[in-house]
């Protein structure tokens, strides 16, 4: 079996669940009081939570939440970050300097702290989580895109295009974007893993997805209170989270080797 196959399978399963969750016959809100905190059994394949809701169904809906948040945040950060980065790289010294200072200020915060503070102040809710994580996430892409642009714009084909009088959008789209894509995609993969953790982290702190909507982070938080009697409440979402993050990280590793973004360590 090829090394990338298992992570890819997990990743695809996660994405598929996210798309299918709304149409599957899931009942994450159904309350079954007699089975409170019960472990895996006939009625629910992963057992019941502290309110007697089926853990398996909640896990699947949580999967779709985390996938959608990751998709939105990575998409928005990638778009905003690379646009700002390329622009900064192409712009003259003055504007570039200002933008770099702005990036530096964002980088002066530990990322998760800024997200926690933002989400906390904006108030709980999934849109605010997406906003907070994007506000933190774009900087990484912007820095990468800027650094790459600075190198790429000296390349002969870009200079030739400039000399031929090609307009800026054309240069960016046809001459820079294809070469920028590989490193940005690799960065996006690692960012996705980080965002899944961050979303779950915010939800764990109660700043993210709000009940009764299930999220892996809030499932873990609620589960920790019943750890003595029902450890599966923590273990199930914890394992799911770990598997997804592990899969995405491994995929990123493979992708990086494959696209040869950074030279391999000898």
């Amino acid at each position: 079996m090829r090394r990338g196959l298992l992570p890819l399978t997990i990743f695809l399963a996660w994405g598929l669940l996210a798309v299918l969750a709304p149409v599957l016959p899931l009942t994450p809100g159904r309350i079954d009081l007699p089975h409170l905190l019960e472990g895996p059994g006939a009625g629910a394949w992963l057992g019941y939570d502290e309110l007697g809701r089926p853990l398996g169904d909640r896990l699947l809906v949580g999967a779709s939440t985390s996938f959608l948040v990751a998709l939105w945040v990575v998409g928005a950060s990638l778009l905003a970050g690379s646009l700002i980065g390329v622009f900064s790289g192409l712009a003259g010294a003055g504007l570039d300097h200002v933008l770099v200072r702005v990036m530096d200020i964002f980088l002066a915060f530990p990322g998760i702290l800024l997200a926690i503070a933002l989400a906390g102040i904006l108030g709980p809710g999934i849109e605010n989580v997406v906003f907070a994580l994007t506000a933190v996430g774009w900087v990484g892409f912007a820095r990468l895109a800027r650094a790459q642009t600075l190198v790429l714009k000296e390349r002969e084909h870009v200079q030739a295009a400039l000399a031929l009088g090609a307009r800026l959008p054309r240069i960016v789209l046809r001459h820079l974007a294809p070469l920028l894509a590989a490193p940005l995609i690799v960065e996006a993969t690692f960012a996705a893993a980080a965002i899944v953790v961050a979303e779950a982290g915010l939800s764990f702190l109660g700043l993210g997805v709000q009940p009764p909507e299930p999220s892996w982070g809030s499932m873990i938080r609620d589960g920790t209170r019943y750890m003595l009697v029902a450890p599966h409440l923590v273990i199930v979402p914890g394992t799911a989270l770990m598997l997804v993050v592990l899969a995405v990280n491994l995929l990123g590793d493979r992708l990086r080797d494959h696209l040869d973004v950074r030279h391999k360590v000898p």
Binding site: I105, I112, I116, I220, V234, N249
Partner: protein
Amino acid sequence: MAGVVCAVFLLIHLIPGDPVEVMLGEAASPADREALGRTLGLDQPVLLQLADYLRGLFELDLGHSLHSRRPIAVMLAERLPATLELSAAALLVAMLLAFPLGILAAVRQGTSWDVAAMSFSVLGVSIPNFVMGPVLILLFSVGLGWFPVSGRDAPGSLVLPALTLGTAMAAILSRMMRSALLEVLNEEYIRTARAKGLRERDVVLRHALPNAMLPVATVLGLQLGTLLGGAVITEMVFAWPGIGQLTVESIQRRDYPVVQACVMLISLAYVTVNALTDLLYAWLDPRLRLGDAR
């Protein structure tokens, strides 16, 4: 630094959400609201508030908590030792784990030692603190009963949070250690040292390691910075009474001045640690030593 202070202040003040409304509830009379707004200085223009705040900072006066009315500087001072203690312990755990693992993986590159060490690294990166924490509690507190579940009163209570934070850091650090050491081991002076007939242990520990420490020190600095702030989640898991816990509590109480002070303190610590890392870097690498260039 000034940039960070201003950014935190503006961030908190420009984002919609009215602390007065939150404190008094929706049924408050307009007169009450105005009075409270005035005592908090919220009726002033934002820039004037910022100037006032900066003046206060110089006198170490961070204002008072909206919730408990206590001076914020005192609240922070109460929590700081716990966070520092945890950071130091986690850093120690991380170094004790990562250095041997990274060195082993580099020296035995390609063997199952290498594979095992790097699997640990990927696994460590992928397990978030709020999963690792409960699992450790389950194993060592509930299962084996070795350490207390949470809090900071019992003597062993530091172990589990430090382990949680430390292993996560060690995962990244050991990977860095490995690649840095591998790079150095390909240098010519290492070949020379080997050709001289030095023992492999001396080659690795005395010739290669000091140079490999440079990138590792950078990562370590960055991590220590994140530790001071990133401990937020771990502190919540273990009910560790540090700055991180104070931050989340204040967010939940909508106690803006305290949130602001916490975020500011953590960010400043982060910036300071990073600046210190740069200095350490110069000290470790004679090539970069300032003022040494004749």
